[in-house]
Symmetry: none
Subunit: 204 residues, 4 copies
DNA sequence: TATGAATGAGTCTTCATTCAT
DNA sequence: TATGAATGAAGACTCATTCAT
């Protein structure tokens, strides 16, 4: 009884739809994606989608949440590592590992942000919140590295990632990501090396 | 005849449509923009649009061309400057000047690329070509600075711009652009200061 | 068994649904009302509705029956009164008392009739039957008043009520009902006053 | 040229649609009528309807306007007659002539009002305005008959019409209209006969 | 060239009804 | 009996594209 109830609850069609939405919206973009596309990907009849989500926008919101969830999982995993350097390096490493997917569809958060930023219906704020989570986490790492300009560095790092994701996608060249990440690794090293010197930025 | 042709040509409706397309597509995105939107912005009757452009995609292409044109103009202007440092700095300065617009709609090339990259109909290649022009030009500057890793640096620079444009847009905060550009200026300075070393990255 | 049956029967979900249907259909109209609306009003899960009513139309039928029931109750109460004049006056008085509700939603029977008359699925006959009950009762009263034209007078009276209900509703003005009812009272008085005089109708 | 332009303008598809809407909405009711129904009745492709009317509600509004137009035409014709008595009698006569149609679908204005009164989107106000035109005209006639209670009489007259239309429709019996109208004629006669007395209402 | 009008395929959304448990 | 979930057939509305003039 309780079991069947649990099963039902865990049947997770809602989750399946959200996951499908996240995947399809990443691959095709928000506007060109039809509800039928998402329903098909989730193997759910179109009409049934509306039992779980009242509008297409709610599904998009769910997809954003799914990305947020993924991000939180990533951050949790990173936080297992002992030092901020290692954590940042692990983040970079993840980017490289995803380079093929990025070459195909770009960064899920970034492309979503790019498209939704043109709207003013709340979805733009939702994706911004996701982006901010990553930004805040990065800032935390730089702070732990003793940098007073942690926010600025975090912005630079995430911007670098978003930008190289875009170029990687635009030129369909995963190696762009690999090369840029190597550069970013050296940059992070440079921040932690020398005693007071640290940042090339601080050199002046 | 040639005269009337010239008159027609200079009636410039085609150009007006392309310019309107460039503007509206930047502001609203490709998919959500209707032909009627563009026609209205250009003050041209909808039916008439098809005399100049056979399909919506052709209009998008024209908008891309318009952006390319703008970019070529920018590059031509930059090339007037005597040194690569100055040219790069002037480029950065332009980015800062546009920060309000960027906060509203993002980088025209970048957002277009982000949206079109999901398609495989040729438009994705067109926008990539525009991006490449900028990249090549930046590479040229770094080469003139004597950098062997000019391509990599160019990619890093343009990625930084695309990324910060995205964040500026996502957070609707023009100051993100200003701060990041200051950082990039210091970075460029650092590349030209030291004797043969040049790159902070190369320091290891 | 009979007991549990009784219990079930007296659980009164069916009645609750019929009552909710009567109320909601009066307030919103038949076509715009969804089964979910009625189920919600009755605090019954949607799926469960179909245990009691095979189709939406059956629920509408039940709502009509509920109105018929109410009408029969009214008539029973009126019939307690000693004279036809008093009974008719009491009927009018009831109309005035309901004028606020009428201003909001019109006469329950009338609006239902108006909407269902456009259909030919039996529901139109059901609501006609309800209307006929009232008409027959009124005819009875006029007959008791010794009027040979009782049917005609009954039709006139009920028509007057239906019409003023419609106007009261259309103009959202309960006072229209009050004024017209006063006029009808005088009219009824005139029917019973002088011997041959009374009504303009009787004049011939 | 001007001719073809005129033809186009007078092609009157908009009018055809409005007329079709008026007819079909009268026959079927607002909610159950689909745009396709109206389009078919007007012999216009469905998609084309939206060139003339942005929403279904606008079409309903147009249908209301069409009824208003008809009403204005009727009033204009009535006003040709020399005396208020004749004008009112002519109005009644028109009702009788339409009794078959009324038996089928009810009064166009009344059924529309009944259905739209349940909504609060402006359409309810539109149909109320139409009803008011008729009411005001009737009031004018009674005023010309020297009645101080002209408004009340007008309300009574129109209510009587709306009510008998409803009953005529409900019982599918055109004779109800004929009989009631005869009664109303006698009533009007009674208002104008006697010296100052006239009305049964005024008798008290 | 210019333009209002026409067309139809496609998309979101609703809802009565059914089903599995 | 009870109920959450499922289903599919509409229906309103949009829009790129075409047509007639």
């Amino acid at each position: 009884m309780t079991d069947s109830k649990k099963v039902r609850r865990t049947s997770g069609k809602r989750e399946r739809l959200a996951a499908a939405a996240a995947q399809v919206l990443h691959a095709q973009g928000v506007a060109p994606t039809t509800l039928a596309d998402i329903a098909a990907a989730a193997e759910v009849p179109v009409g049934n989608v509306y039992y779980y989500f009242k509008t297409k926008d709610e599904l998009v919101e769910a997809a954003i949440d799914a990305h947020a969830q993924t991000l939180r999982g990533l951050i949790t995993a990173l936080d297992e590592l002992p030092t901020p350097e290692e954590r940042l390096k692990a983040l970079l490493s993840g980017w490289v590992q995803q380079r093929e997917l990025t070459a195909q569809y770009g960064c899920p958060t970034g492309t979503l942000a790019s498209e939704l930023d043109k709207r003013a219906d709340g979805l733009d704020r939702s994706i911004a919140a996701v982006m901010r989570v990553l930004l805040d986490w990065a800032e935390g790492q730089f702070t732990q590295l003793g940098r007073a300009d942690a926010r600025e560095l975090a912005v630079a790092l995430i911007a670098a990632y978003q930008g190289i994701s875009l170029l990687t996608n635009t030129f369909r060249d995963p190696e762009l990501m690999a090369t840029e990440v190597r550069r970013l690794e050296r940059w992070i090293d440079s921040l932690t090396e020398g005693p007071a010197t640290g940042d090339d930025d601080a050199r002046e």
